[in-house]
Symmetry: C2
Subunit: 658 residues, 2 copies
Amino acid sequence: MSSTCKMEGMELGIIDESTTEEESVTSQWVLNSPAPPTPWRELADSATKTVAQCGEKFSSLRDHQQAPKLVLSVLLGIFPILQWGQNYTVTKFRNDLLAGLTIASLCIPQSIGYATLAHLAPQYGLYTSVVPPLIYAVTGSSREIAIGPVAVVSLLLSSMVQKLIDPASDPTGYTKLVLTATLFAGIFQASFGLLRLGFLVDFLSHASIVGFVAGAAIVIGLQQLKGLLGLTHFTNKTDIVSVLKAVVKSFHHPWNPCNCLLGSSFLIFILLTKFLGKRKKKLFWLPAISPLLSVVLSTLIVFLTRADKKGVNIVKHIKGGINPSSIHQLDFNSPYAGEVAKIGLIVAVVALTESVAVGRSFASIKGYHLDGNREMVSIGFTNIVGSFTSCYVATGSFSRTAVNFAAGVETSVSNIVMATTVFLSLQFFTKLLYFTPTAIIASIIISALPGLIDLSEAYKIWKLDKLDFLACSAAFFGVLFASVEIGLLLAVVISFSKIILISIRPGTEALGKLPGTDMFGDINQYPMAVKTPGVVIVRVKSPLLCFANANFIRERIMKWATQEEAKDNKESTTKTIQLVVLDISNLVNIDTSGIASLEELHRCLVCQGKQLTIANPRWQVIHKLKTADFVSKIGGNVFLTVGEAVEYANHNANCLNA
Amino acid sequence: MSSTCKMEGMELGIIDESTTEEESVTSQWVLNSPAPPTPWRELADSATKTVAQCGEKFSSLRDHQQAPKLVLSVLLGIFPILQWGQNYTVTKFRNDLLAGLTIASLCIPQSIGYATLAHLAPQYGLYTSVVPPLIYAVTGSSREIAIGPVAVVSLLLSSMVQKLIDPASDPTGYTKLVLTATLFAGIFQASFGLLRLGFLVDFLSHASIVGFVAGAAIVIGLQQLKGLLGLTHFTNKTDIVSVLKAVVKSFHHPWNPCNCLLGSSFLIFILLTKFLGKRKKKLFWLPAISPLLSVVLSTLIVFLTRADKKGVNIVKHIKGGINPSSIHQLDFNSPYAGEVAKIGLIVAVVALTESVAVGRSFASIKGYHLDGNREMVSIGFTNIVGSFTSCYVATGSFSRTAVNFAAGVETSVSNIVMATTVFLSLQFFTKLLYFTPTAIIASIIISALPGLIDLSEAYKIWKLDKLDFLACSAAFFGVLFASVEIGLLLAVVISFSKIILISIRPGTEALGKLPGTDMFGDINQYPMAVKTPGVVIVRVKSPLLCFANANFIRERIMKWATQEEAKDNKESTTKTIQLVVLDISNLVNIDTSGIASLEELHRCLVCQGKQLTIANPRWQVIHKLKTADFVSKIGGNVFLTVGEAVEYANHNANCLNA
């Protein structure tokens, strides 16, 4: 049987060659296209291009300018502040001063709260609001970002580092690990930027970030219950079940409702000012200063009533003074060095994701573009210097950046103003915070959380893509019920599984001619499309024809061909299916299994007296089909368009009839 | 700045609406296509279709036939032998008898060798050549496959099970685990088939199978060094380094060169007959019976010279008699039950991959098609019954199937003949194998290995696809230097990473008009393509515009637009770039990040006074763009083809000039 099939195939092949005269021009274009670049070649090209660009820039500088000017150019590249600083005006400074003072008032209580969330002493939060903003102000290119400690990163750090060392029993050891992780994070961030690996930040899909941040916000809120309710017994775990159990359990111990009363009333006050600020744009300063106002008011209340003696928990001593050096605290020889590096990597990616997302969204509002790789180097450098000066991981804060923007910030001078203000507070006012109730700090953190839960975005994701929504909810519930890392892991795994699923999902669609055009379209997408009698036109929907879907697609196409024939026979049209046109314009790549399945398809079709034709192959695909000798096996029947393939079939049929 | 940009965008939008009269028909087709089915809908449809097909089949049977006929139909479906048995002739039987006897002569020594490879007593290999072929002969649909123990599966089983129980110290416990793993493998295989999960077998790509099998062949050969050299001290590990170390070490112990001499000379004899069989097709029986001949000759030599007393290792006692029941040996309560189930799963997939590949390749030569799901049920059922009758995992053997085919097999009756022959040997001739030297068994196994190493296929893979070759060599070296499981794991991971890499690899290409047609093609693929002045036409090469590549692609497109303008300015053409046509015909899917990046692209282009136009979106993509309101944001500028988009731009330009 096999030999007769081959004979038939050859006969068909002979017919082809005698009739392909007319359409040969375009077919030859397809068949004789130059060889596409190999992966190595492409990689090498892109590397040389990058190097050449850098070299060109450098040499053009060197050729046309003297040494001092060259140095200046390089400096301008590294420190954007030197660029825009030349046009800096008093008006701009007034705006920056106002914005800087506004975010400073929000920053001080938040920094104390986030440091507590990270299981660090309160002053570390304040330290992190001094050095990093200064470094970023001179190296960063975003004008709106407010740099400092942020909630999600604090939670992530504490939840991972406390597995290595218990912060309650060994606070110094714990702090050492956090600072070392900060250094690692900075190094990773800077090297991502220098190696132009900016795309790594994109590995967390938008959907999973929405879910992750919302889950983290709830977890952070739950952690604040300790402060808000003034509980003494609490859990180190972050999942919702453990926390709620701990809360229920702690009610059996004696507890003081004063904390809760104080915290809740100020929480309501802050939320009210937020609401007002949203309603009236002119009152933007109200929600920004209400946290500081609450701190001042509540501290006064406690100080005057000495409520701390009646069981209200207070912040107590905060070590004042400028950031101490922490170089001697960085420890690479600890048994946890490997683990700490891993934590640094995870924190680096999450912090960059937040910072770049925040920076980009505000840059896009102002109409300028933020270079991701550049930003990474700045943030990385910021954290490296931070780790030397007792700061933990800093990044762009969403809530403070929004306030900064609303306050009319012009340049990153507002970061300098903020850092100076925090520095002054550290130097002179930490003693005033002695009587600040911890419940107020907790309520300030809680008040910032609703902004992190974006229900409308989640709904939009649901509407657009159910699988994206799955990644979103997996991240959300993973963070909520398991742990922060598991939530992140789930999000990444689902996001990438989705890519695999879409790429290998076997799909075929029948095409019909769109009336009045030469185009052929999916008959489901374009119901007006008309099928060509005697010809089955199938398009492979999947972008890849590979080991994972080749067999399935082959079977589908065979089914199409057989079913169409049966249908035609039923309608008793005289034409039998003689030609199967396979539109592979969607195929980005094909592998050895894919080619083997095409070969088997061809063999089976020839056995049924049908002929296989290929239309519109992409560059890589036609090259591989040629290399694998598949093109010669189907008698060179490769066409530029489906229309030409169909025309050729009609021509053939006429020749046979004549 | 942002507000002026928006104004410009709106102005452009207004211009659009006044001039889109003509091309609105095809544009409307694109924009008003019906909503594509949701993933749930598609899933439900495919499920109902499958159920409906089964139901139809069943009800058509029930309607037209009486009860006895219905039973007969069902029986025919389950046992294909009843179908083809009706046309069975004496001629066919003569052919099958010859083929069956030929593979039996190859099967007996191979079975003993593979059982040794699996660290089981020799009779288990023979048992596995009795029951499974019988079961498969009545349920399977392939006519050529020879069922029984195979080398790769034996190696895989032993390398994984010996990690749980050491076969040397506890052979009964080890055998129990192997039989339980066989039952699990059978259950997994049958359920894959019943649940129509046939595609699972495709998860090992062709390239990685080539590498894996070649690596496994070398590892199996190395394991045979123990028998061939007559070593007493050997290792349980399978990687090349450990084995070679063990071989070198064992030379320090006293060893007998007689084993090596005997084994090597018969190995040369068998390889010679193989060579002859390949040169002359008529001598196909020579390589098939040479192993049995070697066994008989060498056994006689040892028996006559009593060489076993001079240090030649012999097989010794093989327990004769029919397969004993092994139901009481299946143990689900052992502490290893979970591990054994996992082993069963891995072995199930590898065994199915081999069997389906072998069956398909010979079916395709004979011109019939093998249903993967059906085959899985047969093989699974075969192994389930096998595990009850002291058989370990059986599957289609490549070497014996090839011999079967060459011997002119007609139906699976040859399997029955083979099983009967092995059964008779078990019953009556096991005592004759007492003096068979183990070196001969080793050399028979080694002689089958070169067929598993397919260098020409590896070269073909290298030529076609470098990444596929990477998967191939990773599997090869993983098996060789690490372990069989690590080799498999590497192969799967690399295969799927390749899919991700290809899918998210950011690619864009500039399009030009192909002279004499309405088509636009990649200017690299079609060097004759002509660029349209004043218009940048870019096609997204990647099949997905998603979180992992959206930013990169957006930046690339912006760069294209800006560079082209700079180039145009240099050439001092009067036209500036006003239109960017984005051909997204390649996009199979887009996610929220992708839509966001398109929105940002649009915003940036509008700021530069350019307009974004979309051409030829696929069904899912246009639906999502509509749902996300992107279409209205770009003023509804969506066209069926690039040509129409360009025409529209020219029309617009003329209107502006007039």
